[in-house]
Each structure stands twice: as structure tokens, then as C-alpha cells.
């Protein structure tokens, strides 16, 4: 694995490797597995020595790290960091991952600064400086700040990911926003993964748009490392 290799995904995800420096939106309604997918895409390289940075708006770091361990049994928390914006008291809990809390989702300045500092820290510990960042979710943040502030925050984060040859995965629920909001936030990303519920086995269907050399149309997917 070198710096120039694309970021690949577990066998259950019909997504070809994504070029370093890219940010993608993972868009799906609340009942789909879009948010789980956005987390999982940032964990898929963890066992291979890549690092994972999470900005979690609603889920506590405990729940989030538990989810990572469940979907990816080889998950190594020492190469992970979480910014917990859930507002819940972490108490004396100890984690292998680096955890920072932000008292409110409206503090984009604080979230951004902490993300920058944690990114630098993970960059030095990850193989070839490969860091995947997952923001779950833009929709939640949008309830606390205006669109222009959120755009600025997301664009800054995407710029950092670009400058460090990382991978960014930002979750959004497009059904909770008007067209202008989704169109504006889409400008921070290089491509988009749409997610929908589907009958049958698996976790739903996804469709990749705006990225090169990806499968056409809706494809079934399964979240997690297990083949």
C-alpha cells in the first residue's frame, strides 16, 4: 500500500477504491443504513494500518467505537480518534482511541480545531499517513448552524483531507433538506454515494455518482468487514 493507492473497501461494498484526497457524501434517509455505511467506509482500512477519524454528532464515542468493533472485529482503537459532539458526559470512561468532546454541535470552531489537531496526530501514526475521516452527520449539524457556516466548516474539513491525501466520508439525509441545501453541501464533495432501503438480504442498495471507474446503477451492499 502506498500513498497513491486508492482507498479500498470491504468485499460487501460494491465501491471501487477512491482516489486519495477525495471526499464523498453518503446520502440516504434515516431508515436506510447510510450513517452505518459512512462509519464503515472509514474503518475498512483500519486493520491494514490506516487511521480513522470520526466526528460524531449524535452517537456517543462509546456507542460509535462499539459499532466499529462489532462490524470490524480487527478494529484497532489506537489508530482511531473521535470528536464526540453528543453533549453527553463521558465521565471516567477510558478508550484506546483518542477522544475529545465538544459540548454543543453549534461549536463548529471547536470541532474544526479538534479535528485538525487529531488529524495531525493520526497522520503520524497511520501507515503512509493514510487517514479516513467520517462525519456523521451534516444533517444533524445543520439543525444547529446556518447553511453558510456549515458549508464553510465542511469545505475546510474537505480541504484538509485533500491536502493530506486522505479520504472523507460525510453522511447526509437529503430527505430532511431542501434542494438548495443539498446542492450547496454537495459542492464540498468530489462524489456521492446514494443509499436506499431494499427488500431481501443485505443492508440495502447503493449507487455511486461523480467518481470515476465505479459500478453503474444500484447495487446491493453489506456493511462490515466480514466477506
Amino acid at each position: 500500500m502506498s500513498r497513491d493507492d486508492g482507498y479500498g473497501f470491504a468485499a460487501g461494498l460494491p465501491v471501487e477504491p477512491i482516489a486519495p484526497g477525495s471526499t464523498v457524501l453518503v446520502a440516504g434517509p434515516a431508515l436506510s443504513r447510510a450513517e452505518d455505511l459512512a462509519l464503515s467506509m472509514a474503518v475498512d482500512g483500519n486493520a491494514a494500518g490506516e487511521a480513522s477519524l470520526f466526528i460524531s454528532t449524535n452517537m456517543t464515542c462509546k456507542t460509535l467505537l462499539g459499532t466499529c468493533e462489532r462490524t470490524h472485529p480487527d478494529f484497532d482503537g489506537e489508530r482511531a480518534a473521535v470528536i464526540d459532539c453528543s453533549g453527553q458526559d463521558l465521565g471516567q470512561a477510558q478508550f484506546e482511541a483518542q477522544v475529545r468532546s465538544v459540548s454543543t454541535q453549534s461549536d463548529l470552531t471547536g470541532i474544526g480545531m479538534k479535528a485538525s489537531a487529531l488529524y495531525e496526530s493520526l497522520y503520524t501514526s497511520a501507515t503512509e499517513g493514510r487517514v479516513r475521516s467520517s462525519l456523521v452527520s451534516l444533517s444533524s449539524l445543520s439543525m444547529y448552524v446556518d447553511l453558510r457556516s456549515l458549508y464553510q466548516f465542511a469545505q475546510t474539513l474537505s480541504g484538509r483531507i485533500d491536502s493530506a491525501d486522505g479520504l472523507g466520508v460525510f453522511a447526509i439525509d437529503p430527505t430532511t433538506h431542501d434542494t438548495q441545501t443539498v446542492n450547496t453541501l454537495s459542492q464540498v464533495a468530489d462524489g456521492r454515494v446514494d443509499v436506499r432501503e431494499a427488500d431481501g438480504e443485505g443492508d440495502g442498495e447503493l449507487r455511486v455518482r461523480g467518481l470515476r471507474d465505479q459500478p453503474d446503477g444500484w447495487q446491493p451492499f453489506v456493511v462490515g468487514a466480514a466477506d
Binding site: 489537531a117 497522520y123 446556518d146 447553511l147 469545505q155 480541504g159 491536502s163 493530506a164
Partner: protein, 300 residues
């Protein structure tokens, strides 16, 4: 496009080292890197054309965070980076009042290289701006610079066009706007718009219009998520609803807009959009023909 960077550090040697390393890392951008040692000196040096501001947190007359907040008034498009020895956990970001900043630790193993790359991305993609840029922004700005917009020759015709637009749509205000690298200028105005002065690009509705295919309408700025945070100022200018059509050069680059503004919420029909688009095409033809007429013979 110009690349001006300001490095602020109280330690003379440290700031010269940072400036020199940026000049080397960004040599292909022909970056002009200036330095300052205090908040006061930095605010004196800073202009709206600056692309990036790098600062230590601890400064003799204040903090880097306070400087970044004050700089936002002068250079809203400039990206800010705290390049500091200070522990990020110890930095009180309350003074930033919602602005964003990047952080790079001076002690980081990859400090200088990471700083260079981060500043490059921040400048190239205007990563900390609060509005999206067109994909072809560099070409667009270059195209704009090729026109002499101080040329008085096309003004009388442009004034007739803004007047026609205002009367057709029965609005009090209309204008031809130029969307520059960091600002919006009013080239020709009708009605109350003649009182308007150049605005920051981030406060301009048209900076979103130039992303659209040709025409953009806003039926109520107070209800549109892109403009609601600025709607008080807009309504104060008599702008409650808006329609703008792009001024497109023969090479297909958007340099500005022709706009009409209503002080009440209203919707615009497809026929309205077509009419404004036609007028915008005429306006651009006028600007272009005068530019060609003024150009040296070999450039025509």
C-alpha cells in the same frame, strides 16, 4: 490570480523561516509572503486580496485567535491557520465566534511540509470561504481581468439595459454586477441600486448565480437557506426577491450577472427567465464589442 500570504510570529527568526519555507513550497504559485510580529502590525498589513493568514497563538499584543477573528472583517476570503507551539486543547476558540481555522502544530514531525500543502489547498480551493467556487474559477478571473471595466464607453448602453429590465419586471432596482475574485462590483445600476457600493463576495447573491447554468431566481431571501443568514442586510437594501442572469463571455466563462430585485417576495416564470437571459446576452455583447474595439488591432 494573486496569492498573498501573511505570516505572523513574534519570533523574528521563526517567522522568517516559516515565510521562506512557504516561498519554497509554493514557488510555482508565485506567492508573495509577508511577515508581521504583532496583531497590530498584522492588521495594518492585511488586505482583502490576501489568500491566507498564518499566525502563532501567543502574540505580544493579543492572541492568534483574536487576530483571526479581526482579520475576518478585512479579508473574509482568506484562510486562517494557527501554526503554533500552543497545545490545541489550551486554545480558547470562543473569540472566533463561529469562524473556522486550521491548526498545525509547529512540533509536528511533518510540520513544515504539512503546512505548505495545507496552505496550498487552502489557497487553491479557497477552502475556508463560505461560498462555493465555479470549477473554472481561475479561468473565469483571468477572463475578467482581460476586460477594462473602467471603460466609460459601454456604460450608457448598459444603463439603458438595466432600465429596461427594471421597467419590464416593474421593480425599483436592477444592476449589472461583476463578480471579482473577492468582491462584487456594480457596473451599471438602476434606481436605488445607484447608491450601492462594492460588497464582499461572500455577501453577494450572484456568487451563487454564477454557479447556475444561466439564470437563478430567489423568491424570498429570508426563506432561502443560502441567504437567510444575510437576509437582514439584503432586505435593508430593498432585496426580498431576486432574479439574475449570467454574463457569459464568447469563451463560455461567466464574468458577472444582470439582476433585478423586488422588495416583496415574488416568483418568476420561465418567460421571465428567458427575457432576462436575452437582456444579459445583449449586455455581454455590448461589453465584449467595446473591449474588442479598444483592443490593439492584432488582438481583435
Amino acid at each position: 490570480m494573486s496569492t498573498r500570504i501573511l505570516c505572523v510570529d513574534p519570533d523574528e527568526r521563526a517567522r522568517q523561516e516559516t515565510a521562506e519555507s512557504l516561498r519554497t513550497e509554493l514557488s510555482d504559485l508565485d506567492a508573495s509572503v509577508e511577515t508581521a510580529g504583532t496583531v497590530e502590525e498584522a492588521l495594518d498589513r492585511l488586505t482583502p486580496e490576501h489568500s491566507a493568514l498564518l499566525t502563532e497563538q501567543d502574540l505580544p499584543d493579543g492572541t492568534g485567535v483574536a487576530l483571526i477573528d479581526a482579520a475576518d472583517e478585512i479579508a473574509p476570503d482568506a484562510g486562517a491557520v494557527l501554526y503554533t507551539d500552543a497545545d490545541p486543547a489550551a486554545i480558547d476558540t470562543d473569540a472566533l465566534r463561529g469562524s473556522v481555522t486550521e491548526y498545525v502544530g509547529k512540533g509536528s514531525v511533518f510540520g513544515a511540509e504539512r503546512l505548505g500543502r495545507l496552505v496550498r489547498t487552502t489557497v487553491d480551493t479557497r477552502a475556508q470561504a463560505s461560498y462555493p467556487l465555479p470549477q473554472n474559477e481561475a479561468e473565469r478571473v483571468a477572463a475578467l481581468q482581460a476586460y477594462d471595466l473602467d471603460d466609460p464607453a459601454p456604460m450608457a448602453t448598459l444603463d439603458r439595459i438595466t432600465g429596461l429590465a427594471a421597467r419590464h419586471f416593474a421593480v425599483e432596482q436592477a444592476s449589472v454586477n461583476i463578480i471579482g475574485e473577492h468582491s462584487q462590483e456594480f457596473l451599471s445600476c438602476y434606481g436605488g441600486a445607484t447608491e450601492w457600493e462594492t460588497t464582499d463576495r461572500e455577501d453577494s447573491i450572484c456568487t451563487f448565480t454564477i454557479l447556475a447554468d444561466d439564470v437563478m431566481t430567489v423568491s424570498d431571501v429570508t426563506e432561502d437557506p443560502r441567504f437567510e443568514s444575510r437576509s437582514e442586510a439584503l432586505v435593508g437594501m430593498g432585496i426580498r426577491s431576486y432574479m439574475g442572469a449570467n454574463l457569459v463571455t464568447p469563451a463560455g466563462l461567466v464574468v458577472g450577472t444582470l439582476c433585478v430585485y423586488d422588495d416583496d417576495p415574488r416568483s418568476f416564470s420561465t418567460a421571465d427567465e428567458t427575457y432576462l437571459r436575452d437582456l444579459a446576452t445583449v449586455a455581454m455583447d455590448v461589453i465584449d464589442l467595446h473591449a474588442r474595439a479598444d483592443a490593439p488591432e492584432g488582438d481583435r
